[in-house]
């Protein structure tokens, strides 16, 4: 079957098997390997991408279900070579170690900040509670999101660019 979607601001169309999962479509059909998979059961959240601005676990979404939607992956966070504050925040506050959960964590955090520019510790923890990190112990991820919230001046015009 044929699917079409907006992927990181670009219109794409591909021929696929109907059963292909969105995570495999993104990684293997499009070659965007920044989105990871870690559990197959929607528990770990390493596969989180934004669909119409909302975080979804792409291992539990068929590529066909994303047809006609706007999908954003980690590769779409930086624009024109300028990092999103959330990416900068993760580097500033040591929000990552092995880096495997990081793309999913950053996308969830981006969605949180879009909806709530000044989240507190609890709100950040709740937002990422569907995702697992085995390395950091989460405190530095919370600090990273707070860093991004505290540096809105560095927000680039991502919303316009994505055209959401």
């Amino acid at each position: 079957m044929q699917v079409s979607m907006t992927m990181n601001g670009e219109e794409i169309t591909r021929e696929i098997e109907p059963r292909v999962l969105l995570v495999h479509f993104i990684r293997e059909n499009l070659g965007l390997t920044g989105t990871h998979w870690g559990c197959d059961t929607s528990n770990c959240g390493t596969c989180v991408v934004l669909m119409d601005g909302q975080p979804v676990k792409s291992c539990t979404v068929l590529a066909a279900m994303a047809d006609g939607h706007d999908v954003r992956t980690v590769e779409g966070l930086a624009t024109a070579g300028v990092l999103d504050p959330i990416q900068q925040g993760f580097m500033e506050e040591h929000g990552l170690q092995c880096g495997f959960c990081t793309p999913g964590m950053m996308l969830t955090a981006r969605a949180l900040l879009d909806a709530n520019p000044h989240p507190n510790d609890t709100e950040i923890r709740e937002a990422i509670s569907g995702q697992i990190c085995r390395c950091t112990g989460y405190a530095t991820i919370v600090r990273s999101v707070l860093w991004a919230a505290e540096h809105p001046a560095e927000l680039v015009t991502i919303d316009e660019e994505v055209g959401a």
Partner: protein, 797 residues
């Protein structure tokens, strides 16, 4: 109160944005990770690459009757279906383990654990390979399994390893340390002896990235390039040469970015070997990446120790001795990864941080119908089990004597002036000031105030617990004369080249799984040579590009490779001195070093920077006799001893009396890892380990039912802490350098995983004191806590 460590940049650096040497420094590896440009195993795509999938046994113990692969082979896109019989023809059906046993690559005779490898399909894509698994018809004759280690040595227990000639039981080894007679005498004369069974159940490291490999065998030049999720690329290359018969110079092992390891990625799994066989058979690259259930059910688990502990003391609280009998469940194959001499790893550090008169431990290893492994999950070669035992026993003694557990520990610590300290089981502790660290932890916690709060709450019927753990680790394996893995000595190489423009590359043998080696090792070189860290490239993970060494596990990277890197930089510095002397037309002994530069004693304006010297070395300077025209060096560092990091942890929990739910309200961790290189990275290592500790203490367990079904085979069943289950960590540190390490560093990678579980469990027991609870085993789930409150606590195994 929340205390967040301050991490000022190294003041000696002068420029905070460009620190030289030690200090908080953003990681050099992060820019690629935050852009989604990390390069993990499943990101590797080679031209013509095929995909492998493993058919796994649905039962724990069964005779293999037949396998029919006809239908699977007939399926479109399927290129090969490999069975144990095929491997027998290649002499590859069995592979040696890291513990002088063998493990089946594919089942030939009998299934020995649920999830064991039965057949391997190679197909054009991932989905086709999985589809074909469904079409393989396997007939099994199911046998009764041995699922409880306590019953493994019963005379009527089924013999699991009937593949080993002459074997009539499930016994693997007995191993002991310490003096049994001396311990018996001390126990006989003691005022007080407390006994307790302490169980450390089976858990799993479960890194976010599962294990996988891409094998690319070139049939023309006979070279195998093997991309693998391995923490030990050089050791794997040598073992592959021994197992597969491919000459070692024709094997290149590449470990790309690793999505977490925690010991899960030390061993050589059947999947890796099958990817290699698949590539040889098809003539194309073959990728195999396991799914989460495969990871949890078949790759290296951790712990599974049943420990009978005894502690002896005088009635005023002087601890005299410790002894323990341990039953160790090693699963169906003895595949633990540890130095050859030590079948129970470094468990004999169970004497902890205390000055004892006697100690004795005996460990018995047994086979069961469970997955093999055992040394993993940041355990520092079983130091985790040892620390858990001693810290539970000290608390049990404190309860018996009605002493405060902090006071009891303070009374019995090894004193600073006793270091180096020879303990009763053969270790020589390098350095420590335990009381200082303990008191700092109590100060941050506000220990006395917490006890007052607890008293008030108890009066109101609220369940608040305060738990302490003071751990001493033994890490940085290790001295070659004592330590090897399958005959390979545990020394590490390092190579350093300073390019003509003064930029440098350092090649190391250890492999990061997220620890930040590209940053830390650059900082060590930077500290020694004065070259900014961003001008130093750290190369790792590729056996064609790096010197030999045994890899990253057991917190050994900084203690061993960190020493190697400091020494190789010093070797370059000494060579630079000779070249600088030639350039300045003076004698080497007239030169003095300041960071980054040799200058003439008494005339600091006359000197040469490392960059100038590098250009001189590669240029036209007339070099002294015996000095080559470069600024390179290499070393292999054989550590003289292990290092002994330690820490004082205090945990505060609240238990809901209505549900048995445990909430970790606060956790205070004060660590002493000797010299600190990058405080930001150290804090991150501690935070991660503390979270592991919460997982093991409260949530994580790989259990089995009596039929042999794995009850923890997915993330729906194997529960791992999220951001909601852990508090904001409160950390602090003291610095007691290791006297024998080149920079005084001790390693930090596993300290918190080792040290935190007893603090949490001791806190839970403390909270449940009003119910008369004196022991509970992990995981302290609401159901298990509730049972303990009702007086029905049962061990998990």
């Amino acid at each position: 109160m929340t205390l967040i460590e301050e991490h000022p940049a190294n003041p000696a650096a002068g420029d905070e944005d460009r620190p030289i040497g030690y200090g908080r420094l953003q990681r050099k590896e992060d820019p690629r990770f935050v852009r989604g440009k990390g390069h993990y195993i499943d990101d590797i795509v080679l031209p013509g690459m095929l995909h492998g999938a493993i058919l796994r046994a649905p039962v724990a113990h069964a005779r293999l009757v037949s396998i029919d692969t006809t239908e699977a082979l007939a399926r479109p896109k399927v290129l090969a279906v490999i069975t144990g019989k095929d491997l027998e023809g290649l002499n590859l059906a069995w592979a040696p383990t890291l513990s002088a046993d063998v493990q089946a690559v594919l089942v030939t005779d009998k299934v020995r654990f649920q999830g064991q490898e039965v057949a391997f399909v190679v197909a054009e894509d991932r989905y086709a390979a999985r589809d074909a698994l469904e079409l393989i018809d396997v007939q099994y004759e199911v046998l009764p399994p041995v699922m409880n280690a306590r019953k493994a040595l019963d005379p009527d227990a089924p013999v699991i390893r009937d593949d080993i000639e002459g074997r009539t039981d499930n016994h693997i080894f007995d191993w002991s340390a310490g003096d049994e007679a001396e311990a018996a005498a001390v126990f006989a004369a003691a005022d007080v002896v407390v006994s307790q069974e302490v169980v450390y159940p089976r858990v799993h490291p479960a890194p976010m990235e599962t294990c996988g490999a891409v094998a690319d065998f070139d049939p023309i030049d006979g070279k195998l390039t093997l991309y693998e999720t391995t923490q030990a690329p050089h050791a794997h290359r040598t073992l592959f040469a021994m197992v597969a018969g491919i000459p070692e110079h024709k094997i290149r092992v590449v470990s790309p970015d690793i999505g977490g390891g925690f010991g899960n990625k030390v061993g050589i799994y059947p999947g890796y070997i099958l990817a290699v066989v698949g590539s040889i058979v098809t003539g194309k690259p073959v990728k195999w990446v396991e799914d989460r259930s495969e990871n949890l059910m078949s790759t290296s688990f951790a712990r599974d120790y049943i420990m009978q502990g005894e502690i002896a003391a005088t009635k005023d609280g002087t601890i005299l001795g410790l002894r323990t009998q341990v039953l160790a469940d090693h699963g169906a194959f003895n595949a633990t990864a540890q130095p050859t001499k030590y079948p129970a790893g470094f468990f004999h550090i169970f004497t902890g941080s205390y000055d004892l008169k006697a100690a004795y431990c005996k460990v018995t290893g047994v086979y069961t119908n469970k997955a093999p492994g055992g040394v993993a999950y940041a355990c520092s070669f079983r130091v985790t089990e040892a620390v858990y035992l001693v810290e539970r026993m000290v608390d049990a003694l404190a309860r018996k004597l009605e002493m405060d557990p902090a006071e009891l520990r303070l009374k019995n610590f090894i004193k600073p002036e006793q270091f180096p300290y020879a303990n009763k089981t053969g270790w020589e502790y390098d350095s420590g000031d335990y009381e200082k660290t303990m008191r700092l932890s109590m100060e941050i916690a506000g220990y006395d105030e917490l006890r007052r709060e607890q008293k008030e709450k108890r009066a109101r019927g609220e369940l608040m617990g305060i738990g302490i753990s003071f751990f001493t680790e033994t890490v940085g394996a290790g001295p070659r004369k004592h330590m090897d893995i399958v005959g390979l000595g545990m020394a590490d190489g390092a190579e350093l080249r300073v390019h003509p423009t003064g930029k440098a590359v350092v090649r190391i043998s250890v492999q990061s799984q997220g620890q930040g080696h590209e940053t830390t090792f650059a900082q060590i070189v930077s500290e020694e040579l004065g070259i900014p860290p961003e001008d130093i490239d750290v190369v790792h993970g590729d056996t064609d590009q790096t010197p030999f060494g045994l890899g990253t596990y057991g917190s050994r990277s900084t203690p061993v490779s960190g020493g190697a890197v400091a020494l190789v930089a010093r070797k370059v510095r000494e060579k630079a001195k000779l070249i600088a002397a030639a350039m300045l037309e003076t004698r080497p002994e007239d030169l003095e070093w300041e960071k980054g530069r040799w200058f003439v004693k008494g005339d600091p304006s006359v000197g040469k920077t490392i960059a100038e010297i590098a250009l001189g070395a590669h240029g036209t300077v007339a070099l002294p006799d015996g000095v080559d025209g470069n600024l390179d060096a290499e070393v292999t560092y054989d550590p003289p001893n292990l290092t002994f990091p330690y820490g004082a942890y205090i945990c505060v929990v609240d238990v809901d009396p209505g549900t048995g739910h445990v909430k970790v309200r606060r956790f205070i961790a004060v660590d002493d890892c000797g010299t600190r290189i990058n405080p930001m990275i150290i804090e991150g290592q501690v935070h991660g380990g503390l979270t592991d500790g919460v997982g093991m203490a409260l949530m994580e367990i790989i259990e089995f039912d009596e039929d042999g079904n794995n009850l923890g085979g997915s993330f729906m069943d194997y529960l791992i802490p999220t951001a909601m289950e852990v508090p904001t960590w409160e950390t602090g540190f003291t610095v007691t350098p290791s006297p024998h390490h080149p920079i005084g560093a001790k390693g930090i990678g596993e300290s918190a995983t080792v040290g935190s579980p007893p603090a949490i469990v001791n806190a839970v027991i403390d909270a449940l004191a009003p119910y008369g609870v004196t022991s509970i085993d992990m995981p302290c789930t609401p159901a298990r806590v509730w049972a303990a409150m009702q007086g029905h606590a049962t061990p998990p195994i």
